[in-house]
């Protein structure tokens, strides 16, 4: 005797597709995604159209915006074009953000997964290690690392990754601990699945939604970090970035507001876009909201 299910969706909607359907219903989240694409497109294509070097002195210093048509956003204290700086500075800022987020996720997810899955002394040891890193104020620690190992895009990305993984590790651990108690994990063991399979094929896919959200938000945090370091003069001095522009011009900020305002706005919009995407993913993955 079969039960007729109600309602009967005969189309198998995969979790990913369902998440996208939920995501696309969310207007703010779509706005964030659009904004992100626009920013990426501008910084990517823009640097082709503006062939000049961001370090080139092209005009008189402190030219205000909207005065000279060639320099719509004005020039900085040395007479460098701000539009060029913004276009050339976006790539490195975002690249460092993405690389740092990747490092963060790799360290955080592996340690968190090990701690959460195995528990016992492994968990204790790894969590003590994590707590130790959480005691160090992240930006200060990153500053120390960058100064000791001399600033370059790589050391900056590395330093940001090294200081920001603990939160990801905690989140991953919590997810793993929660999921490993569920019956479908025991079921996998009961049909003879090995630990590696359970970690990779059973728990990780189910822990993925919050981790993906956290990855998106980590990119935002990493961009803010990079900006903060550059602002403090610890950026890669050879690569223009938004934070560097603010840091270089901040001593003259009372004479000229524009060289510090526009790059800051760019950082803000980028992080905003990334975090809106993160929030949207969070809602899309949330089963509670799905039923509305």
């Amino acid at each position: 005797m079969t039960e007729p299910t109600v309602p009967e969706p005969y189309v198998a909607e995969s979790p990913g597709r369902e998440a996208w359907r939920m995501y696309s219903r969310n207007r703010t989240a779509l706005f964030g995604l659009g904004l992100l694409f626009v920013i990426l497109a501008i910084t990517f294509y823009g640097s082709f159209f503006y062939a000049g070097d961001a370090y080139d002195i092209v005009w008189a210093p402190h030219e205000p915006p909207m005065v000279t048509p060639e320099f719509p956003l004005g020039t900085d204290y040395l007479g460098r074009d701000i539009v060029t700086g913004m276009l050339k500075g976006g790539g490195p800022t975002m690249a460092v953000g993405a690389a740092a987020a990747l490092i963060t996720m790799v360290i955080g997810v592996s340690l968190g997964a090990l701690a959460g899955f195995y528990g016992g002394w492994i968990d204790t040891a790894l969590m003590r290690f994590t707590e130790f890193f959480q005691v160090l104020p992240a930006l200060l620690f990153a500053m120390v690392l960058v100064t000791l190992f001399s600033p370059s895009l790589w050391t900056i990305a590395f330093a940001i990754g090294v200081v920001s993984w603990p939160q990801t590790a905690r989140l991953t651990r919590a997810e793993f601990m929660k999921i490993k108690e569920l019956e479908y994990v025991t079921a996998a063991r009961a049909i003879g699945a090995k630990n590696t399979r359970i970690i990779w094929k059973v728990i990780l896919p189910n822990a993925a939604p919050p981790l993906i959200v956290s990855a998106a938000l980590t990119i935002g945090v990493a961009i803010l970090f990079e900006a903060g370091l550059s602002f403090l003069g610890l950026g890669d001095p050879n690569v223009m970035s938004w934070g560097l522009m603010i840091g270089a011009n901040r001593d003259q900020l009372l004479d000229a507001w524009w060289p510090v305002t526009f790059p800051g706005l760019a950082i803000f919009l980028t992080v905003l876009a990334v975090s809106l995407v993160g929030d949207g993913l969070n809602d899309a993955f949330n089963p509670k909201l799905r039923e509305r």
Binding site: M1, E3, P4, T5, V6, P7, E291, R292
Partner: protein, 324 residues
């Protein structure tokens, strides 16, 4: 004599992503003073919504009482002011819930939580309320009530917590006590204790009890009268003996025959095929028609009314037409 609680043609709707769905459809019930009414049905049939409507605790939004009346002691509750409802809740009508684990506030002692209920409705000081709380804990069979009053909920067992909930509910001697699946989360020996306690409380305090349950066995032991609910409607109502011994509605028959009973052995259980339809997919006809062996064309197109025909009232065309 008019009943203590009278629910007439109560309609409750909920806004969902499928639009407004009818959670309660013309529900009529009454409870006489001092008796126990059992409300029985599968999950999602509207038992708890009925109880929450009486207490004025329907989460709103998304829920809304769309029509009908609820009268407690002759007083209309659907139009009562929020202040009046607060005065009634806990004093004239009290409620205990399914999950004793989560129904008590984790950051206050149980004594304080009972004392609060007392102080909300009676002009007594904190000390006196606390003494009354301890006396109540003693009354509901909690050993060393003085010490337990100072405990936090997490320090008590599930059965103890449900006793605390009962103490809190009867603290102002309500005329009516609604128990929403009070033992579902408890072990069977503890469930027996709670049922016995509820019966004792009823004898001593003279309260009418509405017992909401999915367990026909609990109905047999506890209820004087029964209302069987299905998909937001009352489909059968009579004395407990009538319903248990002579169920009329095919759903009620199925519900009784599908229970594996400790008193009988091997016979295959009667199955009710299919599942309860989700509320947003209810059609014009009888909600049970799709699962019913006796359904005909009329069942699929016209909702049967709860009307006496034969033994006792049942909302079924087949019964009313004498087909079964």
């Amino acid at each position: 004599m008019s009943a203590l609680l009278e629910i007439e043609d109560l309609n409750v709707t909920f806004n969902t992503r499928y639009g407004a769905v009818t959670a309660l459809d013309s529900v009529s019930l009454h409870v006489n003073a001092g008796e126990t009414l059992g409300v029985v049905g599968e999950s999602g049939c509207g038992k708890s919504i009925t109880a929450l409507s009486v207490m004025g605790l329907i989460p709103s939004p998304p829920g809304r009482i769309a029509g009908g009346s609820i009268r407690l002691n002759g007083e209309e509750l659907t139009t009562a002011s929020p202040a009046r409802m607060r005065a009634i809740r806990g004093a004239e009508a009290a409620m205990i819930f399914q999950e004793p684990m989560t129904s008590l506030n984790p950051v206050f002692t149980v004594g304080a939580q009972i004392a609060e209920a007392i102080m909300l409705h009676q002009k007594v000081g904190a000390d006196q309320a606390m003494r009354a709380a301890v006396a109540l804990l003693d009354r509901v069979g909690i050993p060393s009530p003085d010490a337990r009053a100072r405990d936090y909920p997490h320090q008590l067992s599930g059965g103890m917590r449900q006793r605390v909930m009962i103490a809190m509910a009867v603290s102002c001697r309500p005329k009516m006590l609604i128990a929403d699946e009070p033992t579902t989360a408890l072990d069977v020996t503890v469930q027996a204790q709670i049922f016995d306690l509820l019966n004792e409380i009823q004898r001593d305090f003279g309260a009418a009890i509405v017992l909401i349950t999915h367990d026909m066995g609990a109905i047999a032991e506890m209820a004087d009268r029964v209302a069987v609910m299905y998909a937001g409607r009352v489909i059968e109502g009579a004395t407990a003996d009538d319903v248990l011994d002579h169920p009329q509605h095919p759903y009620a028959r199925g519900l009784i025959d599908c229970i594996p009973n400790i008193a009988k052995g091997d016979a295959a259980l009667r199955e009710i095929p299919g599942v309860v339809p989700p509320l947003h997919l209810l059609g014009a006809g009888c909600a049970f028609a799709a699962r019913c062996a006796h359904a005909n064309n009329r069942c699929h197109t016209e909702k049967p009314k709860l009307a006496a025909h034969g033994h006792h009232p049942a909302a079924c065309h087949a019964v009313q037409e004498g087909r079964i």
